[in-house]
Symmetry: C2
Subunit: 166 residues, 2 copies
Amino acid sequence: MTKKPPVAAPERTPYARLSEAGMHPILGYQLAQAGVVTTQVFDGLVRSRHELRRGEFTLLTLVHGNPGVTARQLARALGVKPPNVALWVDRLQALGLLTRERGDSDARVQHLRTTARGAALVDRLVKDLVAAERAALSTLSPAEHAMLVELLHKAALARGRMDSGP
Amino acid sequence: MTKKPPVAAPERTPYARLSEAGMHPILGYQLAQAGVVTTQVFDGLVRSRHELRRGEFTLLTLVHGNPGVTARQLARALGVKPPNVALWVDRLQALGLLTRERGDSDARVQHLRTTARGAALVDRLVKDLVAAERAALSTLSPAEHAMLVELLHKAALARGRMDSGP
DNA sequence: TATTGTTATACTCTATAACTATA
DNA sequence: TATAGTTATAGAGTATAACAATA
């Protein structure tokens, strides 16, 4: 059997084509690099055309899929602190995309729901965004793309307990 | 053949266990969710013990693997703007971890190299960080972890051309 | 005139602290 | 006393603009 020489893998950084050297196996680094692409796609499709930032868009979509969810639950799901959620909800409400409603049994909580306009926007943007990502990530086959999504989801489940945010 | 009913997949957000609904297939969302875990690992291991932020650590490691690299090349590789690189290099130089050296043939450029101390630190931290990520991402098998790294690397290569940064 | 790098500055994002209302 | 949410504020992080030196 011939044994391969112990040369470092020739993985290179995007664009500048530097050696990734020790960074290659570090997941946090590869996440950031891949994030450059998805941020480009999001900004070009959602941010520039509508007045929705990443956190706002994600929050709106989660509200759409979880009618009546509370701000605290969303903060935990997104890994951010409650004050940020309050600001995002303010903006989304001002845009007429979701509603706040005090809880019946517990008047401290606020149940969030999308408006008809918010629901329609979410449905459209989610569809467009998925398509735009597939088009942009031409380096991945459809099967690889799907596997990447599932592996990331599985990785995210390793998140440690956090009281109300990161 | 029995056909599965078209129910939505039961994927749930980490911790809060909300329905991910439309966000599930969006790569940018899954990247952000997985990033919560890797940020926790990085902060606990590198940031809290040494005075290195994520960009500084990545830059130092790339310099280690590409001796003589210039600031402009690093900005392109990392997807950030040159002024940020200048600030990071300032700090790393002040910490005695790398050196600047004017180019012989072109005095505009500065060639960066790690000091002995910088090189030793990179070697140690990279090793520790890889180990810490593997330990933290207990939801992934070693094979899945390795595949995730490779798929992310492949995805990152889809990055569009950018003049000097994002 | 174009390019590298720096300085100064502004904007975005997210966190902490302090507060109100409710339980 | 503990919890949900808000307001006000501060700190990271990263961008743009203007500049200096060199090609």
